[in-house]
């Protein structure tokens, strides 16, 4: 019996060493370890062994079976690992091949700037007030203290649709419309398209503005500058400052032009700021008392500040676009630079 086991062991060893894949492994198992395999078959031979030898032989068979099972398990693990490596190798990709994406589109630079300005003010408690683009003389001019014979009307060449209806020349119509529909305290932004019959190289007959208006008790010119300081650090980076200088708009008194310290050179003077260290970005002022009165707000109780920003101008400054026309060409090679 012992001889039989030894012969079988030699065969098992030879067969196991030639196992190289799942199929041969499984054949090996069937041959030796399955219920009908040769090793369980040894047990059947046990009845031919004398009763005295049986315990010893039985033990021998068992030990043999355990050893083969262990060897089998080892081989099985080796095969599994080899198979996995093979599969992994077969499935490997060239990771430098191009990516498969649905490329992102993007918002127009004008929208990006608009949103950034809005973001800067929402935290200060502003609402966005959408005012109509086709408005009348009363809301676009008269109640903004630009009476019919005022030369300030010449500052803004107006597209008329009828004697009374026009394309708004400024988002300032939103000042009147918001004050008509809200009571102080008012903090609104009025973004949108505006229209002027300018048609030279640096002007588009349609462009975008953002009006800002605060009406509350005790609002002063200092608040305007403080608020705009926040805006410019938001738009152009921390530490940017504003400078006020006198100007004229019929709807504000005093009126100011607002310059931002040059974000290109930090104020030392460069080609962008034409050596002055400052860049003109917007106009504003303290709301004219007549405008408040025209909207039924008592100017002795409330005061206001207002400003108007040209969005294209900010987009051009911020993104280094040197020609306003580019913003309306919608060339995908430009738009693709503003993916968001």
């Amino acid at each position: 019996m012992q001889k039989i086991i030894e012969e079988l062991a030699a065969k098992v060893e030879a067969d196991l060493s030639s196992v190289s894949n799942k199929e041969t492994l499984s054949a090996f198992w069937k041959e030796y370890l399955s219920k009908t395999g040769k090793i369980p078959g040894l047990m059947k031979e046990l009845k031919n062994v004398s009763p005295e030898e049986r315990p010893a032989v039985g033990k021998m068979i068992n030990e043999f079976k355990v050893k083969v099972q262990q060897d089998y398990d080892t081989a099985s693990a080796r095969i599994q690992s080899e198979e996995l490596s093979k599969r992994n190798a077969a499935e490997a990709v060239d990771i430098t091949m191009p990516a498969k994406i649905r490329p992102m589109g993007g918002l127009h630079p004008i929208t990006l700037v608009r949103n950034q300005i809005i973001d800067a003010f929402l935290g200060m408690g502003f609402q966005v007030f959408d005012a109509q683009e086709i408005d009348d003389d009363d809301h676009n001019f008269t109640r903004l203290n630009v009476p019919k014979d005022h030369p300030a009307r010449d500052m803004q060449d107006t597209f008329y649709l009828t004697d009374e209806l026009l394309l708004r020349t400024q988002t300032s119509n939103g000042q009147i419309r918001s004050m008509d529909s809200m009571k102080p305290p008012i903090k609104v932004l009025v973004p949108g398209r505006v229209f002027r019959s300018d048609s030279d190289a640096t002007h588009s007959p349609m462009f975008h503005q953002m009006e800002g208006l605060v009406v509350d008790r005790g609002i002063t010119l200092c608040d305007l500058q403080g608020m705009l300081d926040q805006l410019v650090s938001n738009l152009f980076g921390d530490g940017m400052r504003t400078r006020l200088r006198p100007s004229f708009f019929p709807f504000t008194e005093p009126s100011v032009e607002v310059d931002v310290s040059c974000f290109e050179c930090g104020g030392k003077g460069c080609s962008l700021c034409k050596g002055t260290g400052w860049i003109e970005i917007l106009g504003g002022g303290v709301v004219n008392r007549k405008v408040l009165k025209n909207c039924g707000i008592d100017p002795d109780e409330y005061s206001g500040i207002a400003f108007g920003i040209g969005i294209e101008r900010i987009a051009m400054l911020k993104y280094g676009i040197n020609n306003m026309g580019l913003l309306f060409e919608n060339d995908l090679r430009l738009l693709r630079q503003f993916q968001e």
Binding site: R102, P103, M104, G105, L107, H108, I110, T111, L122, M124, G125, F126, Q127, Q132, E133, I134, H150, P151, D154, M155, F159, Y160, T162, L165, L167, P185, K187, S197, S199, S204, P205, M206, V214, D216, R217, G218, I219, T220, L221, C222, D223, Q225, G226, M227, D229, T242, R243, R245, P246, S247, F248, E253, V286, R289, S303, N330, D331, L332, L335, Q339
Partner: protein, 806 residues
């Protein structure tokens, strides 16, 4: 406004440089657009004297001169000249070696006919000046300086001929018409520097005989609040003095004679336009200021004829118009060589009236430009006095006592504003001391009576813009300095609840969603022309043709407010194709403008509209439909699609989009016949794959569910079934899906997963395979219920659409 530095200095003792003055003016609200250095183009040109001259050998017209330019530049320079007017002892401008002259000319020492010439002697023209700048400057030949004691040898020529000067080109804001004059700017400079203003002389006497026959009256006081006239006899024009010629030259005007020059000078100096009528041509010796009669005609000085109407203010004699008020005189009363008597007019005309007439007639002048900005009555009075003073000083006529002052509004008193320093500081937000406030106002010629509070502040008569305390606050801060403003952050303001509202958030979400789908946002003009509607083959009676017309468009190209976004988008695509961008996805969320009636009687609808443009080889009808579905999913609505015909879209590839039974818009492939007409290369047209979509955003947004509620997830498992069906080619996927859905309430999803066509199916047949999800919310589906449902589905398909299982 062009202000010469030297002229300004006649009124204020300016002790700072032009650059420093530029900065001061800037901070006070007067932006100097350009500081022009008149000597900028001229360098190394000095005074020299010809000490010896001889014909140059080998030439017939050149002289070789020895020139003394003083010890610094050389006392014996050899210079060749061909000028005809030279003589020994002539003092002339000499451009030395390396000199520059106007127009970018550079002078170098060079050999002329074998002899070295060390520079060039110059004419007035070569220095860029005329006779008004310097006497004799227009002489043919060299500029001779012998009569000028100032012309010492070696001196910079700019200092001799008056080119050592600067012009401030100042941008004046619309509220400060009083600064549209040299004197007006001088007043500001005087206040800025804290130096006294030297007023020009305005005294005169009236020694000549009056003429009681002259009459002046104003019949349109609303358009002419003030009309002054003064009669001057024995007019004898002569040459203007050098100082006046120089003033005019610095301002870009030519001198005519002293009478004409005085009127021009008064406009420049005081900001008051003037006119003079030759009374011998004025019928009835009467001047009447009135509205023109309809159809009345006038020929102006420049020989243009105009037909007038009652909106035009005219100056008339007893019979006819003799001037367009404030714009230009008539040819019939102009000053001529034989003029002996003049009636000088100095008036305040309503700026709007002058502007409207000027625009309507297309006729303008320095005078009308000035009136349009606004002339105050103080200047009108001052202007006439100044002109009369000059008439007497320059002896060009005899002033009579015959004068007229027609005033409809009594504007001769100073306006008084009651104000407290607290009010001024309440505007500014800082505490400016009462002393500084008072000092600033007084420097600006405001009268300050601070004996009691409130103060009584009287406003200079030329400051029509100052009406209330904020105006005074502005005066204070622009002189005191904006750098004194201390930024505060809305410190007294109430806390407000800011943020975007739901509509604004949804619009932003839509834009971001589109960007997420690979779309780029376009920004196009809100107007175009009817040619754009033609491009889309829209018929003449199409509703899109009912567009609002701009009364005064820049051009016909931009003359109607758009009623549909598609043409704008198509133009963007064409532009991109032309630039070689062969594929792309674009969208725009913009208004279209829909009138309720034409001509407009009320505000039109501004309809926010979503437009899409998709082009390129990778796109098809269903990629665009995918973008639609993405919108529907993102906003929690569902779209259905129906075949539709639109003039500009392909009849077989167009779908109307519905949501909740409402038609939102349309999308599809650009029609072949529209594509064929696009302005792109011919060989590219066939391959073009352009899709357009246009949805009414307002109608879409109205379908958005107000609030989303959680739908409990069913505890029971769904059952999946696949059905492969054979049907006629004409049957649509949508019909089959509808039929399946309607057949059983258990059907929750029906999706197509395969389409197959083959000979084995037979001619005109196709196989479509659908995957069904069946589910009962209330209980576990038992197989018999599923079988029952499938049986019902199949029998409905067979009955309604003649569809068999494959």
């Amino acid at each position: 406004m062009k202000v010469p530095f030297s002229w300004l200095k006649e009124y204020v003792d300016i002790d700072i440089t032009p650059r420093q003055l530029e900065e001061k003016l800037f901070s006070a609200g007067f932006e100097v657009e350009e500081l022009i250095d008149l000597s900028a183009e001229i360098s190394r040109v000095v005074v020299g004297q010809i000490t010896h001259m001889e014909k140059q050998e080998g030439t017939d017209h050149l002289y070789l001169c020895r020139v003394n330019c003083g010890p610094e530049y050389g006392e014996d320079l050899a210079i060749t000249t061909g000028a005809p007017n030279i003589f020994e002892g002539a003092i002339v401008p000499v451009a030395l070696d390396g000199a520059t002259l106007p127009g970018g000319v550079t002078i170098k020492a060079r050999k002329m006919h074998g002899v070295l010439s060390n520079g060039m002697m110059c004419s007035g023209e070569e220095l860029g000046i005329n006779n008004d700048w310097y006497p004799g400057a227009e002489t043919y030949g060299l500029l001779i300086l012998n009569d000028d004691p100032n012309a010492t040898l070696g001196k910079n020529i700019c200092e001799v001929v008056g080119l050592d000067d600067y012009i401030f080109d100042i941008s004046i804001t619309a509220n400060r018409p009083d600064c549209q004059s040299i004197l007006g700017i001088a007043r500001e400079v005087s206040a800025l520097l804290g130096k006294p203003l030297k007023m020009p002389a305005i005294d005169y006497t009236c020694p000549a005989q009056p003429d009681p026959s002259i009459q002046v009256r104003v019949e349109a006081p609303d358009l002419c609040p003030r009309y002054l006239a003064h009669y001057v006899r024995n007019i004898h024009p002569s040459e203007s003095p050098r100082w006046m010629k120089r003033h005019l030259a610095l301002s870009g005007l030519r001198s005519i004679n002293n009478v004409v020059d005085i009127t021009n000078h008064t406009l420049l100096e005081i900001g008051q336009p003037m006119h003079a009528f030759d009374l011998s041509h004025v019928a009835g010796r009467s001047i009447i200021v009135r509205r023109a009669h309809n159809g009345e005609k006038i020929v102006t000085l420049d020989e243009k004829e105009f037909t007038l109407n009652e909106n035009n203010l005219v100056i008339c004699d007893a019979e006819k118009p003799v001037a367009l008020a404030g714009i230009m005189g008539g040819l019939n009363s102009e000053i001529e060589d034989d003029t002996t008597e003049l009636l000088f007019e100095c008036a305040t005309f309503a700026r709007d009236s002058v502007r409207k007439t000027s625009r309507a007639l297309g006729q303008s002048s320095d005078s009308s430009a000035r009136y349009e900005k606004g002339v105050d009555q103080y200047s009108t009075e001052l202007g006439l006095k100044r002109a009369l003073h000059l008439i007497q000083e320059l002896d060009c006529g005899d002033i009579t006592p015959t004068c007229f002052d027609c005033a409809s509004s009594d504007n001769r008193e100073r306006k008084v504003i009651e104000v407290t320093p607290e009010q001024i500081n309440s505007v500014l937000g800082i505490q400016v001391s009462t002393q500084i406030i008072k000092d600033v106002l007084q420097r600006l010629d405001f009268g300050v009576d601070d004996a009691q509070t409130p103060w009584k502040v009287s406003v200079p008569r030329y400051r029509d813009d100052v009406e209330d305390f904020p105006d005074l606050a502005e005066e204070v801060i622009r002189e005191y300095g904006y750098e004194h403003i201390v930024p505060t952050f809305l410190k007294t303001a109430s806390v407000t609840n800011g943020g975007l509202n739901q509509t604004q958030k949804q619009q932003l979400k839509l834009k971001r969603l589109m960007a997420g789908q690979g779309f780029f946002e376009a920004s196009t003009l809100a107007f175009y022309s009817t040619a754009e509607l033609d491009m889309l083959h829209l018929p003449q009676d199409a509703p899109e043709r009912k567009a609002i017309r701009i009364l005064n468009p820049i051009s016909e190209n931009l003359s109607i407010m758009r009623t549909i976004l598609a043409p704008s988008m198509l133009n963007v695509i064409v532009d991109n194709l032309k630039k070689g961008n062969m594929e792309g996805r674009l969208f725009e969320l913009s208004n279209i403008y829909i009138p309720h009636a034409l001509p407009l009687t009320e505000y039109p609808d501004e309809r926010l509209t979503l437009s899409m443009g998709v082009f390129g080889p990778g796109e098809d009808f269903f990629t665009v439909k995918g973008a639609m579905e993405a919108i529907a999913q993102a906003f929690g609505v569902s779209f259905t699609y129906e075949r539709e015909t639109v003039p500009y879209l392909h009849p077989g590839m167009t779908a109307a989009v519905y949501c909740g039974g409402v038609r939102l818009g349309v999308f599809g492939k650009l029609a072949n016949d529209v594509t064929a007409e696009l302005k792109i290369a011919k060989d590219e047209k066939e391959s073009q794959n352009i899709y357009l979509a246009e949805l009414d955003y307002g109608k879409l947004a109205a379908q958005f569910p107000a609030d989303r509620r959680y739908q409990p997830i069913s505890a029971f498992a769904p059952v999946k079934r696949d059905l492969a069906l054979v049907c006629d080619e004409s049957i649509t996927c949508g019909e089959i899906q509808d039929t399946i859905r309607k057949a059983s309430p258990l059907v929750k999803e029906v999706s197509l997963f395969d389409v197959y066509r083959g000979k084995n199916l037979g001619e005109g047949k196709k196989s479509m395979a659908f995957s069904l999800v069946l589910h009962d919310d209330n209980k576990e589906l038992d197989p018999s219920a599923v079988e029952h449902a499938v049986k019902k589905i199949l029998s409905n398909l067979k009955f309604k659409l003649n569809i068999e299982m494959r």
